[in-house]
């Protein structure tokens, strides 16, 4: 190789920004873990919902997931990217000002989320709950991050991009596409909006987003971090350059297709379900490519596993990554999904990835970075080991209890006796059975949190002992103009081409999978035999979304005998066609609600919302007593209905103009019914009446109602 000989140049890296992201990561990790532990305890012991609206499980769970993904993992990614990119490219970041805007903007977004989610501002789409002003802020800050990152690539002193940078590029490009497409929404107030997508469309877009948030926020950036910090920490060469190439492109191309495995056995067209399943299976090897390239890099350095806590965390992280990416394809097989979907098995699976892979890799990175950034030694290796074992034990306890709970409950739901009847017809029986496992899970979470607190102390003591904090200055040789090389090697020198190819790789699957369903929707709309929700039901639906009911209740009856016996005819695509957003759900902590309408009297719902135990003795559902006190927002209904009409829901101009009056009329009759059945008087302006109207409308919107005792199955 004929390298152009050049002088050594001096570079001072911006390490201050890395320190900031790192500390933010630790602060929000604490918040995310504590929220998770409280949520886990609420499932084991419902009184911990404390009848506080802002702390109830339905609002706490989105806070926990958003904090874990965007605040904890997000800040960890940024810390690692800002630290490693500068060194891999032998240059300071493109702009310190953009770095600062990125940092403070992102923290501001997190604070906005931490305030708005407990207040109930939610889009009702998992991991995309944040409302439109925050969505716009995320887009802006992400663009700033991208400009800063690609600007740094433009001023690099290294011709070629190391594999870690490929993964960063894929992350930045794909997250932008996912976030923008999934967040297209029309506001109806300064903090509320409806997504333009509805029903099956929205389901497909949401899970294309949701799954690839896992792929491109929790996988590719962390693989990038792994590729930098593992060889650095172990001081060993990476095992295989060509494996990096194959598994990178395989992963990026295949991952994007896998979203529909979240929608197996739903009313999503079957070909799309099958595509989602087979691409998930093909994803197994590319995922493991990252794991084996990491683990085999340690050949000749395995003794470090005994002595170096950083290596210990990394090896465990890669092992959990391998486990989760084997389990993922497994769960995507239709017949396995039939048992696992809607159960805690999925929750266990996710946490093997989140706690094991993202958590442990971040911890490894923190233990690696803190002594370097604060120019000192780690206060205590022994405490780091204590952290490792507490965390490890916590994850194992969490995972085992959740898989056991999931399989137990999944099989109980499906059990049918010789007489053709459900063996466990009462849903709550299947809940009571797994409550002990909820306690075990919470204990696992407590161990994990305990370990984290040990780390906080260790890091605090390390930083406290630091006497000097400065930015690292090094002398580097500029190789920007060395020979390009051939094949993939040449591509690694071409940032724009590489980024465009990554974009194309993720767009192929996205377009092929999503586009037909989007166009299908306009076709169904013409033939749909469905009435839209009445204005009062819309008000109720917004309360349903605000309280996060979708977190524990699905609205999607799968075409399986056990579901048909328990809930009625399978859900159809038409039934949710006017649902902006769709509310199919992904977890059944309580029963499915797709056909709950007219199943119970209004008074039953009233008593159930105020105190679930008064009608279902062993229920673990929180009490929603504030719905009896709080008043329905009738005034905004005209605006809401008008936005929905613009989105294609067939309301007449009169319905828009009279929305609030129509709602008040219907509220009177529902309130009267509650009173007639023996409930209290004067509820017509209360939120509970709107919610009951909505619940009673579920599954009741077909213009020609189906006979309740008859199951209809389409060919």
């Amino acid at each position: 190789m004929n390298e152009t000989i050049s002088r050594l140049e001096e570079v001072t890296y911006d390490d201050a920004i890395v320190r900031k992201f790192l500390l933010a990561c630790m602060v929000f990790a604490g918040v995310a873990f504590a929220a998770g532990l409280l949520a886990a305890l609420q499932l084991a012991f419902f009184p911990l919902n404390m009848e506080l609206p802002w702390l109830t499980f339905g609002r706490l769970r989105p806070l926990h997931t958003n904090a874990a993904i965007f605040a904890f993992a997000g800040n960890a990614i940024f810390a690692g990217i800002y630290h490693s990119t500068q060194r891999l490219l032998k240059t300071r970041m493109y702009s310190d000002r953009l770095s600062a805007i990125h940092f403070w903007g992102w923290q501001l977004i997190i604070v906005a989320a931490a305030i708005s989610l407990p207040l109930g501002f939610s889009q009702g789409k998992e991991y995309a709950e944040l409302e439109w002003p925050i969505d716009i802020a995320i887009t802006l800050i992400w663009v700033i991050f991208a400009v800063n990152f690609f600007g740094t690539l433009a001023i690099r002193r290294e011709k070629h991009m190391y594999v870690a940078l490929w993964f960063y590029i894929a992350t930045i490009v794909t997250v932008a596409v996912l976030h923008i497409v999934n967040s297209i929404e029309i506001p109806w107030s300064y903090m509320n909006s409806y997504p333009v997508w509805a029903g099956v469309q929205d389901a497909l877009v949401q899970w294309w987003y949701g799954h690839n948030a896992v792929a491109f926020f929790l996988t590719t950036p962390f693989l990038g971090l792994m590729y930098y910090y593992l060889p650095k920490a172990a001081n060993r060469p990476v095992y295989s350059y060509r494996l990096s190439i194959i598994h990178f492109w395989g992963l990026v191309f295949i991952y994007i297709w896998a979203g529909p495995h979240h929608l197996l056995y739903t009313s999503l067209p079957e070909w799309a379900q099958t595509l989602g399943m087979i691409f998930s299976i093909m994803l197994w090897a590319p995922s493991w490519g990252g794991m084996i390239n990491g683990l085999l890099t340690l050949r000749g350095a395995w003794h470090l596993l005994r002595t170096d806590p950083i290596i210990k965390f990394m090896v465990a992280a890669l092992t959990f990554y391998g486990m989760a990416t084997f389990e993922g394809p497994l769960l995507s097989i239709k017949s396995v999904s039939a048992i696992g979907h809607y159960t805690d098995w999925i929750v266990g699976h996710v946490h093997a990835g989140a706690l094991g892979w993202n958590g442990f890799l971040s911890f490894a990175m923190i233990y690696y970075l803190v002594p370097k950034l604060w120019k000192t030694k780690l206060y205590s290796d022994r405490l780091a080991n204590v952290h490792f074992w507490l965390g490890f034990l916590g994850i194992v306890l969490y995972y085992v209890s959740m898989v056991a709970a999931g399989i137990t409950q999944g099989l109980m739901w499906k059990a049918i006796g010789p007489e053709g009847q459900l063996v466990y017809p009462d849903f709550v029986e299947t809940v009571v059975r797994i409550v002990p496992l909820y306690w075990a899970r919470a204990l696992g979470g407590a161990f994990f949190l305990g370990g984290f607190m040990v780390m906080c102390y260790n890091v605090y003591r390390t930083i406290a002992a630091s006497t000097e904090v400065s930015n690292e200055t090094v002398r580097v040789r500029n190789t920007r103009y060395s020979s390009a090389g051939e094949g993939h090697r040449a591509l690694e020198g071409m940032v724009t081409v590489f980024s465009v190819l990554s974009l194309i790789a993720i767009l192929v699957g996205s377009v092929i999978e999503i586009y037909p369903t989007l166009s299908l929707h306009s076709y169904i709309a013409k033939t749909a035999n469905i009435d839209p929700y009445s204005p009062l039901e819309i008000a109720g639906r917004d309360i349903y979304i605000r309280e996060g009911c979708y977190v524990c209740h699905s609205q999607q009856i799968r075409p399986m005998v056990s579901e048909v016996l328990r809930y009625g005819s399978p859900s159809t695509m038409e039934e949710s066609i006017y649902d902006h957003p769709f509310q199919w759900g992904s977890k059944r902590t309580g029963p499915d609600l797709a056909r709950v309408g007219k199943k119970y009297p209004d008074l039953w719902h009233f008593r159930h919302m105020v105190d679930p135990r008064s009608v279902v003795e062993k229920s673990i559902m929180p009490s929603y007593s504030w719905l009896v006190k709080d008043k329905t927002d009738f005034l905004s209904l005209r605006k809401k209905v008008s936005v929905l009409r613009n989105l294609g829901v067939p309301y007449s101009p009169e319905q828009v103009a009279q929305a609030d009056r129509l709602a008040e009329e219907q509220a009177k009759s529902v309130a009267q019914a509650i009173h007639d059945q023996g409930g209290p008087e004067g509820l017509e302006r209360r939120e509970i009446v709107a919610l009951i109207a909505y619940l009673q409308a579920l599954g009741q919107k077909e213009k020609q109602p189906r006979p309740t005792d008859q199951v209809t199955v389409k060919e």
């Binding site: 295989s240 350059y241 299976i281 459900l422 399978p570 008074l603 039953w604």
Partner: protein
């Protein structure tokens, strides 16, 4: 060893492990065949599978037969303490949420008085309502959930409580049936 290094990180260029390559190829071949079989071949659709499974349930139901609730047979059960105990258990588990632990009526009506909204308050009437429900009034059908013996038991239990005058009765609803 590749001739490049980044911030001290070097790369080897080991061949792809064979087992890994074979796994990758295997999943691709499986994916292709699976899609072919289920989406354009002879594989059943999800709804076809459901229909087949539902036929099995229907057959089981047919074998079970439709139980006709005869007044005389139910009358005989009234004397059995075991049946009454079973009926009580079923009632407390499934019915008490709406009718009250003492059958006094909460969401649904009082079941101990002489007033009936549906049927004549006879054993066979009650058993039919337990089975079929009164869906428009919010009484769910229990046919798919309770076994025949459980329906009988809970019916007998309800009738055994006739005239028990529980505290906090919801009050009479429906028509008074004089003789029973």
């Amino acid at each position: 060893m590749e001739d490049h290094e980044y911030d001290g990180i070097q790369e080897l260029d080991n061949p792809l492990p064979n087992w890994w390559l074979l796994t990758f190829l295997g999943t691709i071949i499986f994916a292709y065949l699976y899609y072919l079989h289920y989406e354009s071949g002879s594989g059943p659709t999800i709804n076809q599978e459901l229909k087949a499974d539902l036929a099995v349930i229907e057959a089981a139901k047919a074998k079970r037969g439709t139980k006709s609730d005869s007044e005389e047979e139910l009358q005989k059960l009234l004397a059995s303490a075991a049946v009454l105990n079973e009926g009580k258990a079923v009632f407390q588990g499934k019915c008490a949420a709406c009718h009250g632990a003492d059958l006094q009526g909460v969401i649904g009506p009082d079941l101990t008085d002489d007033y009936w909204l549906h049927g004549q308050g006879k054993l066979a009437d009650i058993a039919t309502i337990v089975r079929k429900g009164v869906v428009e009034k919010g009484m769910p059908p229990w046919d798919g959930q309770l076994k025949d013996a459980e329906v009988s038991a809970v019916t007998v239990y309800i009738v055994s409580k006739r005239g028990s005058h529980p505290a906090n009765s919801k009050g009479p609803q429906g028509e008074k049936i004089v003789s029973n």
